[in-house]
């Protein structure tokens, strides 16, 4: 603005300047405050995640020596049942001899086991979380000789893969490692 400007003009401009500066301060303060509030919320949400002691109990060791061929046991791991099956030769053969195209969730049996005679998987139906039947001698094992979920009729084969019914995926395999031939650590 020049010296010859009208008396009213500079004040008007100054007012607009003042207004702009105030708005800038207002919005930057709101932005900083909102960012702080968002960060402050996190601890109150994160406290609901598994605590350190819960995470520390995340592995289980199992003795396999007492499981005969053809038998299954169920162990608890992270509060969930884990199926451990000592598979027979026929079951292994059956699991291997499957046309991948026929599977809703194609996965080779070899990719699901570390040692072919031991199938270790989480025994929670991938449909809505029921526990499938097939662990005990008298249980119905479904159309494919593996497991059958009584809740909504999902059939799993001898490799724990979904073959028929509403479940979308195979029974999940937990992380595990063999400590020696007779014991395994899950998790």
């Amino acid at each position: 603005m020049s010296d010859t400007a009208h008396a009213g003009q500079p004040t008007q401009n100054a007012e607009i300047d003042e207004q702009t500066r105030r708005d800038f301060l207002l919005w930057s303060t709101i932005a900083v405050g909102a960012a702080g509030a968002a960060l402050a919320v996190w601890p109150f949400i994160d406290q609901m995640n598994p605590a350190a002691d819960t995470l520390a109990l995340a592995s289980t060791e199992v003795d396999l020596s007492k499981i005969d061929v053809g038998q299954s046991i169920t162990v608890m791991w992270r509060g969930k049942p884990v199926f451990i099956r000592h598979r027979t030769e026929e079951e292994i053969a059956e699991a291997r001899d499957v046309d991948m195209a026929a599977l809703p969730d194609p996965e080779k049996d070899a990719a699901r086991v570390q040692q072919p005679e031991w199938l270790i998987m989480v025994g929670v139906c991938t449909h809505l979380g029921c526990i499938p039947l097939g662990q005990k001698e008298g249980d119905t094992k479904g159309d494919f000789g593996g497991w059958f979920c009584p809740c909504h009729g999902s059939h799993y084969d001898t490799s724990g893969r979904i073959r028929k019914g509403p479940a979308p995926t195979n029974l999940p395999i937990p992380g595990y490692s063999f400590l020696d031939d007779n014991s395994v650590r899950i998790g």
Partner: protein, 278 residues
């Protein structure tokens, strides 16, 4: 202006009186003469633990203290904070046995500890602990530095209100472990089976002097004088009391800086908005 003056005067008065009020509690809580204040690495707003001292302190704890004192709140997995890696922690845990079971026969059995297990107590219960220690139950050490301090981290509080006035828990532990006197003063009648300690409230303590020169052989070659051992175990015990200390102070600095910026912005905004009222 006048308002601000009154406000600050009132705040000061309340602060001082509050300090005196709480100070009174604190002194009553510990009692006895004040142990010397050491310059701990975890003091102050930037304080952190010295990993080497923590590991040495842990060595003192497990070879000396742990034979009588429990440490119920510490799990082996927590030891990773001392600078041990996962395998080292597993190896430490495996040296100890914990009760497990029942097995398929319905019996309880002992198994090697895992990192998830808590430190096993030396005595099955308080009764056995008392019988084995001449009637005095050795206190659990998990929170001892907080329980013997006037406020877990009172270095700041001391500097705020009463410079050098309050003993920290660590100061007390260090003082207690180095404060044994062979002879009680002539005018003090020491009960049988008790030991004279300068910093123990009442001076007659049931715990025999636990540390002696080179009582432990430090893995890092540090000379294990009694003072060094007392210092190290006090650092270790402070960590067990306040394992969150480093995370807390670190986050605290960030939060304070953030709040300073935000509050300054709010003040500027307040001035601008109120400019046309005054």
């Amino acid at each position: 202006m006048k308002t601000i003056k009154t406000l600050s005067a009132a705040a000061l008065a309340i602060g001082v009186m509050g300090g005196v009020m709480i100070g009174g509690n604190a002194q009553a809580a510990v009692g006895g003469p004040k142990p010397p204040s050491l310059d701990w690495s975890f003091n102050g707003i930037f304080g952190t633990y010295d990993r080497a001292a923590l590991q040495r302190g842990f060595q003192v704890f497990k070879t000396v203290c742990a034979s009588c004192h429990s440490m119920n709140l510490m799990a082996f997995r927590n030891l990773e904070a001392l600078g041990y890696n996962e395998d080292e922690v597993k190896a430490i845990a495996a040296e100890y046995e914990v009760q497990a079971g029942p097995n398929d026969d319905g019996d309880m059995f002992m198994r090697p500890a895992t990192p998830a297990d808590h430190w096993p107590a030396p005595f099955a219960n308080d009764k056995i602990a008392a019988i084995s220690n001449g009637g005095a139950i050795p206190p659990d050490l998990s929170l001892i530095n907080k329980a013997r301090a006037s406020g877990g981290d009172s270095a700041i509080r001391a500097s705020l209100l009463q410079p050098g006035g309050f003993p920290l828990g660590a100061d007390y532990i260090h003082g207690l472990l180095t404060g044994y006197k062979e002879e009680a003063p002539a005018d003090f009648s020491l009960p049988a089976g008790k030991y004279y300690n300068e910093y123990y409230p009442g001076h007659a303590i049931a715990m025999a002097p636990p540390l002696y020169p080179d009582g432990v052989e430090y893995a890092d070659g540090t000379q294990a004088s009694v003072d060094q051992q007392a210092h190290d175990v006090a650092v270790f015990l402070n960590w067990v009391s306040e394992p969150e200390l480093e995370q807390r102070k670190n986050l605290g600095i960030k939060v304070m800086l953030f709040l300073l910026v935000l509050t300054a912005m709010l003040y500027a905004l307040k001035r601008k908005i109120w400019a046309n009222v005054h």
